[in-house]
Every structure is written in structure tokens, then in C-alpha cells.
């Protein structure tokens, strides 16, 4: 255990909405809601003005509109967020190389080593908040503590535009009164189980014997939660963690059961994933698909390949096979394709290209396929993602490119065009 609050968690306040407000002065001081604007859109971020109306992220956009009809609703602009995020991360790395980005708008820092030259954790936290505001106009909240768990909880409580320090020796006094749902890994299902034991606060959880938790939640989840409840969190801040998966997923405007169309979508997503794999000079061993049913039940299925690959055909066929083996039930609202077990510098086993109706049909052999995929990458780099694609991905005469729109739901609320029925999102998990 550290003897000083040298783990910092920095979280930008209402990040997407703030970027929009900075970009357009007319939005400042007004409720701004960023997200998918279609009927099934979801709120990605809400400005603090909008939050006063009860709007929060992950809320259905339709509800947000009812809650505050006068708010400004905008669809996400990832390039702008990515640029702003890069600026912020650069400020953090100025202080210490021990920066672990969690997403575009949050990161952990380990400032134990920087303490001698730059001051204590809390001092560094204040410096960072000031610099970020001065250099980007954004406000950030910081939690400073002895563990990642507490730093993250503290930054949540410090919001907006604040800092909270959990002094060494007071950790459990801080942690135990908090509602148990604040802990990572306590979702609705776990909460239901814990309810039966009358667990409301983290302190209640801490009093439960570990054996009980293990019995209720399973060995790993039970032990993990017990440890967290006692602030036993020895995870270090891990800078440049390697990318563990590359994926692409899409939310549909209506629940879908059309297997043929979904297979085509899976192939197209595989194409996008393969393209990004090659862009990163990596290969993958495992292909995973994710589906979310209409009732939000979400399942994943994966298969490990005999040899590593970066070819769309291999990823696509595997994703398609996985999809075919699933019961689509009443329909699915989300489909995702991702690859894991990424490696660098290993060879890619070629595939013989049979004339068997597989994706390879149009190509003589997989080395040609690879040459073609390389060419596709080049064209996309120069002319944009939807400049070129596979004919199998053609939909109503228009190319459905791999990367577009957002995770938070279709964009155009009035569109009846099938093309606009989908929203997509690229993912890179670490």
C-alpha cells in the first residue's frame, strides 16, 4: 500500500458536450446533448446544463428529448473528440510517462516518482486541472488516492471541475459509506444478489464473509469484490498497455432477424476490422462476435483460429460461422465483430481460394486477396472509408463502409432509408 495519494484518476467533465460547447460559442450555457439522434439513439454525453433536466449518458434519446425539448441535440464528432483527447493526454504525459488512458476522456496517472520534483499527488492534480483548462478550455476532475479504485471513486465525487483527495489512513472511512453500486463490477444482476443479504453500502459488503460472496457470485467475482470492499487493489498504473482487441459493432434501428443480411454485415465489419489490423501491423488469433437481443441480453461467441491472420476473408468467415450457430430469437439490436490475441511480427498463413461460394470466390488466391486488401487500405487512406469496398457489402446500390456514425444510435430521426438505420462504432479495447 502506498503511503501517499499518488495514484491520480483524471476525468474530463461532460467531455463530448464540452468539446461541442467550446467549438460553438452559441452552445455555451445551454443544455447540450450528444448522441444518436434517431428514434433508437442513445445519449453519449450531456452537458451539465442538460443534466439538470435529468438527462444522463446511456439514456434513450427519445426520453432525453421529452425531458428537455429545448436542448441542443448534436451527433457525435469523433475526430474532434479524438483531437481534444490527444491534447489532454499530452499534458498528462508532460508530468509523467506513467499515464494509462482508459478512454478518450479518462486516465490514471502514477505520480509517486514525480512527487519529488513536481510536488505531491494533490499538488500535481491541481496543476493538471489548471493546465488542461488553460490549454484546451476543458475542465477536468481529479481523484487522488492510494489505489486506482479509490482514485476513480474520488474523481466521480469531485465532479464537476473539482478534486478530491483520499488521505492515507482514511481509505475505508471514505469507501465504506459509499453505495455498493459504485464498485466496478456491481451491475444490476450482482446488486440483486447482494440485496438478499441486505447489502447497500460498500461497508455492508465488506462485512460479508468472503466465502459467502464466492458462493453467491462465483470464485473470481466473489473474491474480487471482497478485495475491493477492503480497498485491496494492487493494480498498478500501466502505461502503453498493448491493444488487446480490435472490433467494430453496430446498433440497428430495429431488431433484426434477417440472417442473410446480418451475415453480410458481419463480413463487412470483418473487412473493417482486418483493415485496421493491417494498419496496426498486427495479426489476430481469435475472432469474436457479440450480439445484443431486443431485451438487451448480450452474448459473445468466439473461436480461435489455427493460425494468426489479418485477412478479412478469414475473420469474416469465422464471424459468419459463429453467427450462423446462434439463435437470433426475437431479433437482435446490435452486432459486433472483434479480434483478440493480437500479435506483431508473425507470419500469416495463406489460404487456398476455392470456388465454393465463400468470400474468396472473386479472388484467385488469398495472396491476391491480401494484395487486394492492401490496395483497398491505400485507397481508403487517400479517399475515405467509403471509397471502396466489396460488392457483397453493397446495399441498395450504395456502399456500406466499415466505419461510420456512432455507437449511440442512428443519426437521422426522420430517415426511412435503410442505410441510415444503422450506426456503427469502432472499438479498441486495452
Amino acid at each position: 500500500m502506498r503511503d501517499a495519494p499518488s495514484v491520480l484518476h483524471l476525468d474530463l467533465d461532460a467531455f463530448f458536450a464540452s468539446v461541442e460547447q467550446l467549438a460553438d460559442p452559441a452552445l455555451r450555457g445551454r443544455p447540450v446533448v450528444v448522441g444518436g439522434l434517431g428514434n433508437r439513439g442513445v445519449v453519449a454525453a450531456a452537458s451539465y446544463e442538460a443534466r439538470r433536466f435529468g438527462i444522463h449518458s446511456a439514456m434513450p434519446m427519445a426520453r432525453a428529448r421529452r425531458a428537455c425539448p429545448d436542448a441542443v441535440f448534436v451527433s457525435p464528432r469523433f475526430d474532434a473528440y479524438s483531437d481534444a483527447s490527444k491534447q489532454v493526454m499530452a499534458v498528462l504525459r508532460d508530468v509523467t510517462p506513467l499515464v494509462e488512458p482508459i478512454s478518450l476522456d479518462e486516465a490514471f496517472l502514477d505520480v509517486a516518482g514525480a512527487a519529488r520534483s513536481l510536488g505531491t499527488g494533490p499538488e500535481i492534480g491541481e496543476v493538471l486541472r489548471k493546465r488542461i483548462h488553460a490549454e484546451t478550455g476543458l475542465t477536468a476532475s481529479v481523484g487522488a488516492a492510494t489505489t486506482k479504485l479509490l482514485a476513480k471513486l474520488a474523481s466521480d465525487l469531485a465532479k464537476p471541475d473539482g478534486m478530491l483527495v483520499v488521505e492515507p489512513g482514511t481509505e475505508l472511512d471514505f469507501l465504506h459509506p459509499l453505495p455498493v453500486t459504485r464498485l466496478w463490477g456491481v451491475g444490476p444482476a450482482t446488486r440483486k444478489r447482494l440485496d438478499r443479504f441486505g447489502v447497500v453500502s460498500v461497508g455492508d459488503l465488506a462485512k460479508l464473509p468472503e466465502a459467502t460472496l464466492v458462493r453467491e457470485l462465483g470464485a473470481s467475482a466473489g473474491a474480487h469484490l471482497h478485495a475491493l470492499a477492503w480497498n485491496r487493489d494492487d493494480r498498478g498504473v500501466e502505461p502503453d498497455r498493448v491493444t488487446k482487441s480490435i472490433g467494430h459493432e453496430e446498433t440497428f434501428a430495429r431488431d433484426r432477424t434477417d440472417l442473410a443480411g446480418l451475415e453480410r454485415d458481419a463480413l463487412r465489419m470483418a473487412d473493417a476490422v482486418a483493415s485496421r489490423l493491417r494498419g496496426a501491423s498486427k495479426t489476430a488469433r481469435t475472432v469474436q462476435i457479440k450480439i445484443r437481443y431486443g431485451d438487451f441480453r448480450t452474448i459473445t461467441r468466439s473461436r480461435t483460429l489455427a493460425t494468426p491472420t489479418d485477412l478479412a476473408i478469414e475473420i469474416g468467415e469465422t464471424a459468419r460461422d459463429l453467427l450462423r450457430a446462434l439463435d437470433l430469437g426475437e431479433g437482435i439490436r446490435l452486432l459486433g465483430v472483434s479480434v483478440q490475441q493480437l500479435e506483431e511480427g508473425v507470419g500469416v498463413q495463406g489460404r487456398l481460394a476455392f470456388d465454393d461460394g465463400s468470400l474468396a470466390t472473386t479472388f484467385e488466391a488469398s495472396d491476391d486477396r491480401r494484395a487486394l486488401e492492401d490496395a483497398v487500405d491505400t485507397v481508403r487512406e487517400r479517399f475515405g472509408t467509403d471509397a471502396v469496398g466489396t460488392a457483397a457489402f453493397l446495399d441498395r446500390g450504395r456502399l456500406l463502409p466499415g466505419r461510420r456514425a456512432s455507437l449511440w444510435g442512428p443519426d437521422d430521426p426522420d430517415s426511412s432509408d435503410h442505410d441510415a438505420d444503422r450506426t456503427s462504432h469502432d472499438k479498441e479495447a486495452r
Binding site: 511480427g345 489460404r351 487456398l352
Partner: protein, 365 residues
């Protein structure tokens, strides 16, 4: 039911029948057993996993006819560890009592009436020599896929040729093609797809003598006087493989098979535990240099004498795929033909045009 049988005879029969016993968990429980039928002067042992059935008949002194299903692993383990000599097998209630000398064992039986009756092909049998057929199977089977996700590729295609039969297997990374002249087991134009796992048993069980081959609508049966292997046919269209075989190659390497095999095995060690580490074959007029490099772990090179005609080229392969090919081809000398680092290469035995092994290279970045 009661019989007596020589331990070695019984153990060997169990070992053979057991190879068809399902290893799959979640299969019908009775399929983890061997069905034993005693009648006249023999017993018949049957192992079955619905795709594959193996029957073995051995002589026994049968006191009481009957049928029972014995858990295969126990039956095998107990029998092989009993004293050599005569084994007595007797069913008492729900148990089998198995004894030899002063050693006695009891095994709870599986419900005999649940053991499936697997269809047998009807129709006339064709008699062929077992040895050349087994040899041809041995050559192509490693090329078949073991991935049940693509059932068609887990089979071996048997197709009629002008003077015999052609056997083809591929896992989409490599392709093995073997022509077997003078074995007319198929009628003109006939194509059948048989699971490689079943054919692997055929190859093990029938290594000499004659076998009767009967193709039915859904199964194929290979039978000698005392042994039968029945495999279900795989439905579906085998990939069009002919278009994959290049008509000519600019580069031709001739090398001792044993020397190349040893060198590839050395390279394979370097990549062990690191999937995707290829062996590189640099071919030039000077000969062949093999190398493998598993970054930050190990590396190796070896130069071997070889005759090379063509333009200098380096091609990388999955070492296991290359080894499978080297172990399949016949003759002391092999010919490796290549187009370029990314096109399929072929491996053949010198003077053995009947077998061809095509394999896709590994692309190295």
C-alpha cells in the same frame, strides 16, 4: 452371458473397437461403451460414435450367448492389466465380472438396449487390395481439416478416375491428391466424401490382405472377414480443387527428403509455443538455406545441399504443414516447386507422380 477369451486377443480387439468410441462429452452415455455380443464360437465388439462404427470379431469359448455394453475405458484398462492367459467374462445382473487367474473385477454395465443400431450400406461389395489403399490414405489424411466448423473439409474425397480412384483432402491451407491406379472401387463418375477420421481407422485396421468395400446412400463399409469399419458419408460439395494446382512452376528444388525433414524439425523447435513462426526456405543455385526466427526467443539456420533450377526465391511455410507433406511423399528425394513467396507450392517425391502435396506459404511481413 458368459465367455472365455485369451487376454491378448481380447485386449487387442477392445483397443481397436474403442477407437470409434466417442470422446465427445455430452454424447449419448451409452456411446462411451463397447457393445459385446457373444454367440457360437466368437464374440463381436462394437465401438460407435454415430459417424463411425468399428466391429471386431474374435474367437472365444462361449458358454452362454448374450449382449452387453461395457464402459470402454474401464474395459480396456482392466483387460490390459489382467494376468496373461484366459479371461472369463460373465454378466451378473447389472454388472460384468471380468477375471483372470485370481484377479477379479466388476464393472457396472451400460443399458444395452440404448446402444444405437447404425445403418449399414446395402448393395454389392467391391474387393480391393488393402495395402495400397491404406498407403494412399496415409498420404492424404494429414491434409484433411480437423475443424468441425467446416464439415466438408474434414472428409477425404474419393473420385473415380479412368483407371482407378483419386483421393483428395484439404484443410484450405494445403491440399493432398493421390491417384491410385487399378483400384476400381467406384463406378464411373462417382464421387463420395468420407470422413478422414473414419478413413484413418480403415488405414490402421486394414493394412494387408483384401477388403470388401460397399458404398451405400449414406454410409461406406470396409470389411475383412473379422473386422468392419463403417463410416458415414459427408454430404455437400467438395471444393473445386483442380483449379488450384498450377500447370507449371518456374522454380524447382530437388533435395533429400530425410535431410530436409531433419532440418525442418530443427526449425520447428525454434517456433514451438509461438504460433505462426514460419520456416523460411531460401533457394538458390548454392542450395537451400532454412531459417526460423521467433523474435526474442530463439532462432536457427541450416544450409543443406540441394539442386535448384529457377530464380532465387525465399518462401516461408508453417513447419508442421511442410513436415506433414514430407512425411506423406514417397521416395528418398523430393521436389519442391514454387512460383513466388505467396503462391501455392507443391511437394512431390521424385519418380512418384501419383502423389501431390500443395501448400500455401506463410506471408511474412
Amino acid at each position: 452371458m458368459k465367455f472365455r477369451c485369451e487376454r491378448d486377443t481380447l485386449a487387442e480387439a477392445i483397443g481397436t473397437a474403442q477407437r470409434a468410441v466417442s470422446a465427445r462429452s455430452g454424447a449419448l452415455p451409452v456411446l462411451s461403451g463397447i457393445q459385446v455380443t457373444a454367440s457360437d464360437d466368437h464374440i463381436e465388439l462394437v465401438g460407435c460414435d454415430l459417424d463411425l462404427t468399428i466391429r471386431v470379431q474374435v474367437p472365444a469359448q462361449v458358454d452362454t450367448d448374450g449382449q452387453a455394453v461395457v464402459p470402454a475405458k474401464l474395459f480396456d484398462g482392466l483387460t490390459t492389466r489382467l494376468k496373461a492367459g484366459t479371461v472369463t467374462f460373465e454378466v451378473e445382473g447389472d454388472d460384468a465380472r471380468i477375471s483372470s487367474g485370481s484377479a477379479k473385477a466388476g464393472v457396472r454395465l451400460l443399458p444395452a438396449d440404448e446402444f444405437p443400431r447404425v445403418g449399414e450400406p446395402s448393395g454389392s461389395a467391391v474387393t480391393v487390395d488393402a495395402a495400397p489403399f491404406a498407403e494412399a490414405l496415409r498420404q492424404v489424411i494429414p491434409g484433411a481439416s480437423r475443424d468441425d466448423a467446416r464439415p466438408i473439409l474434414t472428409g477425404v474425397l474419393l473420385t473415380a478416375t479412368a483407371d482407378g480412384v483419386r483421393l483428395v483432402a484439404t484443410d484450405s491451407y494445403r491440399l493432398a491428391v493421390r491417384d491410385l491406379a487399378g483400384v476400381g472401387m467406384l463406378s464411373e463418375g462417382q464421387r463420395v466424401l468420407v470422413g478422414a477420421r473414419g478413413l484413418n481407422e480403415v488405414q490402421r485396421v486394414f493394412s494387408s490382405g483384401k477388403i470388401d468395400v460397399t458404398f451405400g446412400e449414406r454410409e461406406v463399409r470396409f470389411a475383412s472377414e473379422t473386422r468392419t469399419v463403417t463410416a458415414r458419408l459427408i454430404e455437400g460439395e467438395f471444393p473445386n480443387y483442380e483449379q488450384l494446382i498450377p500447370s507449371g512452376y518456374p522454380n524447382r528444388l530437388t533435395v533429400s527428403r530425410a535431410t530436409l525433414e531433419e532440418a525442418v524439425r530443427l526449425m520447428q523447435i525454434v517456433g514451438e509455443g509461438r504460433e505462426g513462426t514460419p520456416v523460411r526456405l531460401a533457394m538458390s543455385a548454392d542450395g537451400l538455406e532454412l531459417s526460423a526466427n521467433a523474435q526474442e526467443r530463439a532462432d536457427a539456420t541450416e544450409a543443406i545441399d540441394a539442386k535448384f533450377e529457377g530464380t532465387d526465391v525465399t518462401v516461408a511455410f508453417n513447419p508442421q504443414f511442410l513436415l506433414d507433406g514430407l512425411l506423406s511423399v514417397e521416395g528418398d528425394e523430393v521436389v519442391l516447386e514454387t512460383l513466388d513467396p505467396l503462391k501455392p507450392a507443391t511437394l512431390k517425391g521424385t519418380d512418384h507422380p501419383e502423389f501431390l502435396y500443395l501448400l500455401m506459404p506463410v506471408r511474412i511481413s
